[in-house]
Amino acid sequence: MIKIVHFVNQFFAGIGGEDKASLAVSTSDSNIGTSRALAQKLGDHAQIVRTVYVGDNYFHEHKDEALKEILGVTRSAEPDVLVAGPAFNSGRYGFACVEICNAVANELGIPALTAMHDENPGVALYKEFLNARLFCLPTTESTTGMNDAMTRLANFAVRLGRAEEIGPASKEGYIGRGIRRLVKADRTGAARAVDMLLKKIAGAPFETELPMEEWEDAPAAPRLGNIKDSNIAVVTTSGVVPWGNPDKFKTYRNTQWRKYNIAELKELEAGKWEAVHGGYNVAYMNQNPHYGVPLDALRGLESEGEIGPGKLYPAYYVIPGNQGSPAVMRRVGQEIAADLKKDNVQGVIFVAT
């Protein structure tokens, strides 16, 4: 029989509400709280061998410790599948479910399954993890959908326990993770693309094979009052770095940024700088690094008074942007923003390749 460990928070374990949110990691080997409902749906196909539960606040305030403990008590129950939740629209719970599923899937090498409302912040984390062993089913916003969520969790968990092949999100009903799969098609890409185009022209519905990531709107930052009085910095994804690439940037999928001093420089001399980037032909940039870091023009405008004296930040920021994941780039953007603000920079010229 398939063995399942079920993770829930203190509320769904039936221990208590906010007053019990500091509860440390606990376990029960007889079905408590919502584990009973899940066990009922699983019927004879699978057995919940352990319920692991923790207070919402405890998990977030002692995350490393809590994860370690949860991994321990999960491992010792030797499950085939971990099920966490459903968390509906509870943010702390949703986050915990995804964190725990991800950790268990990675450390124990077993599939992990959770469920929550698609606007639960845990879903963003789930998409960030891009973990092929981790699945999240959509639920209603509130617990009114409990019965349905439990039915679907049970069915899916049994399939995972049987190591059944799980198809794409659109067919299987889990929330898409953005993992690209290789599949064999019986017609060439050209023929499929023309088909799609014809459908699009005819105004008929069609299904893209490569959905684009959805982008959130960020409101524009307020304009600079007077550019001459503003501190300006250059940030670039061109990959222009000192010759020899001292910080060993890769040509793709970088995760760290650097800043390089230009305080004493009037221009970037060819041969002293190079572009490290696997996504475009770097020959032009190597001949003239100003295509990525336009220091000559900035110094010129500084001497003409269009940029105030000493207002150009004495270093530029760089990360080669090639194949950078949106999640990494967001984090890098946040880190650079914090560094710029610390030094009172007010506006950014961003050169993207």
Partner: protein, 83 residues
């Protein structure tokens, strides 16, 4: 990345040759770059014209930073060059 800078309250002039992509990902102040391998200038021009073009691109970026925008807006350096 540029959106995180904007979220932190720093206006960003995004110089990019892929300005339709920049618009699609909803960057706010977009400056048309020349081409992907050389956004700030054009190696096909003489050194002098190339330098002048780069100066115009950066002036356009400064202008963009001084401009109020409420949606993705493309600033074109060609117009600023005035021949």
């Amino acid at each position: 990345m540029s959106k995180e800078l904007e979220k932190a309250g720093l206006p960003v002039a995004l110089i990019s040759a892929m300005f339709p992509v920049a618009q699609q990902v909803r960057a706010n102040r977009i400056v048309k770059g020349v081409s992907i391998p050389h956004p700030c200038g054009d190696p096909n021009l003489s050194k002098e014209l190339d330098t002048r073009l780069r100066r115009e691109i950066i002036r356009t970026a400064l202008k963009a930073l001084e401009s109020d925008v409420d949606r993705p807006t493309v600033f074109s350096p060609d117009a600023a060059m005035g021949g």
